[in-house]
């Protein structure tokens, strides 16, 4: 055969196979959940035969509407009833009792406009259920030939021969006869195994569990010779004091289970105990199943089954209080800390810097809270942010704590250490994972450098979420405190009155100084005052002597008074003045009159007492007192 002849046939065959497979895969959404029995299986019990499926409504309209891609239908020939033919067969022709076979109806010549009776005119005892619909295109001798095959799952409750009678289908309004077909249902042989359904179990790691621990588990649904698992959905916890989380995907894997290597569909689970003590866990899941026919082929039907795992008992312990380290925030598992990093190694006082701390490992990574870091006078700290991620394949998680720190002092050389610890369930003890200080250079801000003061709280305006403190009414003062004035002192009249004191003192000093200067410039004034004072003093003594009738004292004091009064008029000392000198200083008008007589008489009386050697006696001298006073006054009045 020439290659040019073989290639189009080969290409058409590959295309038809791919298209058929895609359509077969596309039939899954047409399954009607709930229409099939969903038995609960217990793998510990002998496997019962599956109940016979009930016939269900065939969604022909939907099948027809989603029959084929547009490009094929458009390129295909226009359906012609004369070119349309139909076949019907059972595959296999002989089916063991309580097993499933397939009834196939193939319409050759078109993809569209096919209407199959619903339900089929199946004989009594034969259960026929539409499973899928496939379409194919063949190129034979250069001509396209379309065909559509309807797959029905069949089973029967009793052995015997069942004949599906011929019936009429409508193809684009033209009746097409579907021929009859026969199937033989036989009793199973003695060597045949009973029907085996899929089973589900929970695979939990060995050991003790702690409250809050995130345990990686698996839901295993094993394949059997009669059923294969196609999909698992709606995995849910049925019992157990645990938090339960199922991964949204499953994978087929070869699993060693109780010493056997089995094909299973594995769904990762994550279980977190929440209460100390013993608890039983079991899980329920909705499983899509493919039944395997006698020939080892899938029957095409995909019933659903609600499987429930046997309960698994676990023992949960509370976290030990002993040995708890600072900074424990609920982390349970095997974690390690990555290298903390800073967003900048050199900052200015008041500028925020981000400290990123990564941790990773297996455990409750999502539940770990960032260890708190309180603000102090060195660093201002904001609530740390965290971001967690977990690899669904390995179960390992990574969490990143991000602290926003604001340095308050240029003297800082490192970030603060952050206490942090986790609990290792394998070792049964707490592990210290404290964040070490990271070296950093802090420079003074421009404002603080210029003022020479450190910034006290510079990050208030730069904080990502500044918090305005709510004002409150403060409390009472506890002690009365020192007294004060209700009004300023200057508002009190006494204040200004008191200012007179220093002003008067200064004025007095000034006046005294001025007087002293005057007297220094005029010494005669001083002498006059001294003379007057001396004259007054002597006059007082003269009066006293007159009162006491002491002649000698009276005469001496009177003469001294007259001398003192007359002395300023001359530079001679007062005590040295003689009679002539005193008389010379008397005013002219009184020279010869009373003053002169008084002065002469007093001097004569004194000379007599002094030089005669006997007492002169009173001799009326006391009568001169008034004359003496008058004489002193006269002399003072006539002084310059």
């Amino acid at each position: 055969m020439h290659f040019s002849t073989v290639f189009p046939i080969l290409r058409a065959g590959i295309f038809a196979f791919a298209f058929t497979a895609s359509l077969a895969f596309a039939q899954r959404p047409f399954e009607l959940p709930g229409t099939l029995p969903t038995p609960s299986r217990d793998p510990g019990l002998p496997l019962p035969p599956p109940p016979l499926p009930e016939p269900r409504q065939l969604p022909f309209d939907q099948l027809n509407q989603r029959s084929a891609p547009d490009d094929l239908t458009k390129r295909g020939p226009t359906p012609n009833a004369q070119n349309v033919s139909a076949t019907a067969t059972f595959e296999p022709a002989t089916v063991p009792l309580k097993s499933f076979g397939e009834y196939q109806v193939t319409i050759v010549g078109t993809h569209n406009g096919i209407e199959i009776p619903n339900p089929l005119p199946a004989p009594e005892g034969l259960v026929v259920e539409l499973a899928s619909k496939s379409m194919s295109v063949e190129v034979i001798n250069g001509q396209r030939r379309e065909s559509t095959t309807f797959h029905y799952s069949t089973t029967a409750a009793h052995p015997g021969t069942y004949v599906m009678p011929a019936f009429t289908a409508q193809v684009n309004g033209v009746p097409v006869t579907i021929p009859s077909a026969r199937v033989q249902i036989e009793e199973p042989n003695t060597g045949d195994l009973p029907f085996q359904t899929v089973t589900a179990v929970i695979d939990l790691p060995e050991g003790e569990y702690y409250v809050g621990q995130s345990v990686a588990a698996r839901l295993l649904v094993f394949d059997t010779a009669d059923e294969n698992v196609q999909a698992i959905v709606n995995v849910a916890k049925q019992s157990g004091d645990v938090l339960f989380q199922s991964q949204p995907f499953s994978r087929r894997d070869r699993v060693d289970w109780h010493g056997k290597s089995l094909n299973a569909t594995v769904t990762p689970l994550r279980i977190t105990p929440i209460k100390p003590g013993e608890t039983e866990i079991n899980v329920q899941a909705l499983v899509y199943i493919t039944r395997i026919g006698p020939g080892g082929r899938a029957t095409g039907a995909m019933p659903q089954a609600m499987l429930e795992t046997p309960p698994v008992r676990i023992r949960v312990r509370a976290l030990p209080e002993k040995g708890r380290k600072p900074g424990f925030t609920g982390g349970i598992g095997k974690f390690e800390m990555g290298r903390p990093t800073l967003s900048a190694t050199e900052v200015v006082v008041g500028d925020p810097v981000a400290l990123t701390v990564p941790i990773s490992g297996e455990g409750n990574i999502e539940a770990i809270a960032p260890p708190p870091l309180a603000s102090d006078d060195q660093w201002q700290s904001f609530a740390p942010a965290s971001d967690a991620a977990r690899d669904p394949a390995t179960g390992r998680g990574t969490k990143t704590f991000t602290y926003t720190l604001v340095p308050r002092s240029p003297s800082l050389r490192a970030t603060p250490a952050i206490p942090f610890s986790v609990f290792d369930p394998e070792r049964g003890q707490y592990v210290d994972l404290s964040v070490p200080p990271i070296a950093i250079t802090v420079k003074p801000s421009a404002s603080s450098a210029s003022s020479g003061e450190e910034a006290k709280s510079p990050a208030v305006d730069q904080s990502p979420e500044p918090k305005q403190p709510q004002p409150i009414l403060t409390g009472l003062a506890e002690k009365p405190g020192s007294r004060g004035y209700a009004v300023p002192l200057a508002w009190v009249a006494g204040f200004w009155t008191a200012q007179i004191l220093p002003a008067g003192a200064l004025l007095g000093l000034w006046a005294i100084r001025r007087r002293a200067d005057y007297l220094a410039a005029h010494p005669e004034v001083v002498r006059r005052r001294a003379a007057r004072l001396a004259a007054r003093r002597h006059l007082r003594m003269a009066r006293s002597a007159a009162h006491q009738r002491n002649t000698e004292q009276f005469v001496r004091s009177s003469i001294d008074a007259i001398r003192a009064a007359a002395a300023p008029l001359d530079t001679t000392e007062a005590d040295s003045l003689v009679l002539a000198e005193v008389l010379a200083n008397l005013p002219d008008d009184t020279h010869a009159q009373t003053a002169g007589r008084t002065v002469r008489r007093l001097f004569e009386h004194a000379h007599t007492e002094r030089f005669s050697g006997h007492s002169a006696g009173a001799n009326g001298v006391f009568d001169l007192l008034s004359d003496v006073e008058q004489t002193v006054s006269t002399i003072e009045k006539h002084q310059p």
Partner: protein, 252 residues
């Protein structure tokens, strides 16, 4: 005079001095005890929730920043915003560094929606210390400067370097007090609206046309006086005549 007599006389004089001192101490102790009692009575009444009694007691206590602060608290708890702010302003004038009072003023004005009063730079300068402290410093520095300049001449004492330096320091100190004194004089015009919705009238009469109103606790400045009315000006140039009963000056 015999030595005996002299010593007896001196002893008698010492007894009189000691007696006078004891009497003075007892009097001051009695007065202080009475003052403390009023303060404590007010404190206890406030703690018991009897704010009216607390207000009365604190107003009877001797004038101090603490007593005025507590009086403001009691008045505020009574719902008397004007008297409360007045008391706190007076307390702040007596002790500008008392942060609780400043916080309460900010709180009360914030709660009442009142504007924070604006002050000129010399008013703020004068608020750095109490008015009396400024006045005493000004007085002492003034007389010190005068004395240091005049006394050497009057006493015929040679001027030395330290006396001249002291005179310069006194003069500088006095000059520094001058803006504060101006600020104190300006603050003397400050007052607080004591009644809610106090009417600002066009004329200083009871029947004067109402130009607007001021909320209780608003700070304003007196510009003129006519009889029982003051012409006051608040922020945003809201001005008018108010009666004495509706407005209380800071130092009155």
């Amino acid at each position: 005079m015999s030595p005996e007599f002299g010593s007896r006389k001196a002893r008698h004089g010492g007894h009189r001095a000691v007696g006078a001192a004891v009497l003075l101490l007892l009097t001051s102790a009695y007065v202080s005890a009475a003052d403390t009692s009023a303060f404590e009575v007010g404190h206890a009444a406030y703690e018991a929730g009897k704010f009216a009694e607390a207000s009365t007691a604190f107003s009877q206590a001797p004038t101090s920043a603490e007593a005025l602060h507590n009086l403001g608290n009691a008045e505020y708890r009574l719902g008397h915003l004007g008297p409360a702010i007045l008391a706190w302003e007076r307390a702040r004038a007596l002790n500008p560094g008392y942060r609780d009072t400043v916080a309460n003023l900010r709180f009360a004005r914030g709660q009442a929606g009142l504007e924070q009063p604006e002050a000129s730079w010399y008013e703020n300068y004068s608020a750095f210390m109490t008015p009396n402290r400024w006045i005493v410093i000004a007085m002492l520095s003034f007389w010190a400067a005068v004395a240091l300049l005049v006394l050497p001449h009057l006493l015929r004492v040679r001027r030395t370097l330290w006396t001249q330096a002291a005179a310069v320091a006194a003069i500088v100190t006095f000059l520094l007090t001058l803006p504060a004194l101006v600020g104190i004089i300006a603050r003397n015009r400050i007052g607080i609206v004591m009644a809610a919705n106090t009417a600002l009238r066009l004329t200083p009469t009871k029947e004067g046309e109402v130009l607007g109103s001021l909320p209780e606790g608003e700070l304003a400045r007196v510009e003129k006086k006519r009889g029982d009315y003051w012409y006051i000006r608040a922020s945003s140039d809201r001005a008018g005549w108010v009666s004495h009963q509706e407005f209380m000056r800071l130092w009155q």
